[in-house]
Subunit: 150 residues, 2 copies
């Protein structure tokens, strides 16, 4: 069972790599209980399913099914959560967000911190490399995923 | 093709009623192009699919599939969008949100207005009645849907 921050991040990185292997955008996430139990895990599915609503964090949240209380859960994600996924964290009261990196994209994590969510950014080189390489090779697809018109 | 605000709201209300008839939470939404074309429509699916990620607005966004530019689209919804759905609107640059009512739930529409999204609230009695009756009969389910622990 993943317990340390780096063990938790490894679950999200495995999801990101699975997405990349499917031809998708390499962002992965997991929703984890306080004891390290992975409640749900997933990755971005824009390309694979033609589904723009399945960012990594929303996919992990969905996979966890109906939960009654998110306050002691952690959302671990390879990349800083966008406004959509940050809104998810705030609305459902997820207690902590553990972030692989925020160099290639700076989402809503400062806003979440202002609203009492515990934020940890690991600045993980593997996560940075995954997105740096992907964005360089697929700039239009990346812009589509974050709602940036060409 | 729905064109006026009340015609657009009728699409969302029809979705809300379809959800209610399925035993679900009666919130409906549609993503509509500038000319009135309905790009996607949907309703809350927490109960029906056991899927907490499918709020009405995210369901409508999902049903619209991959779009390259949301700036001229309108998200019409029977209820003020929660932080999750407000984050969706902000991240993808949806230009306008047309809201049935914000009496029974006050989500993130003020925040969206501050960030340049055009907000219209119709204060529609039918939308108010749908949620008032539902919340009175199902308070725990409603609290679950907005992440309020008991």
């Amino acid at each position: 069972m993943p317990v340390t921050d780096h063990e938790l991040l490894a679950v999200a990185v495995a999801e990101a790599k699975a997405g990349l292997a499917e031809g998708g955008i390499p962002i992965g996430a997991a929703l984890v209980a306080a004891d390290g139990t992975v409640l749900g895990r997933g990755h971005n599915r824009r390309v694979q399913d033609g589904d723009p609503s399945m960012h990594a964090e929303t996919a992990a949240f969905r996979a966890a099914g109906r939960q009654r209380d998110y306050r002691t859960t952690t959302m671990v994600t390879t990349l800083s959560p966008c406004w959509y996924c940050s809104g998810l964290v705030r609305q459902f009261g997820i207690g902590r967000v553990l972030i692989g990196e925020s160099r290639t994209f700076h989402g809503g994590h400062d806003w979440l911190a202002e609203h009492g969510v515990e934020i940890t950014i690991l600045d993980d080189p593997e996560c940075v490399a995954l997105m740096t390489d992907f964005i360089a090779a697929n700039p239009q697809l990346w812009n589509e995923d974050i709602g940036e018109p060409s």
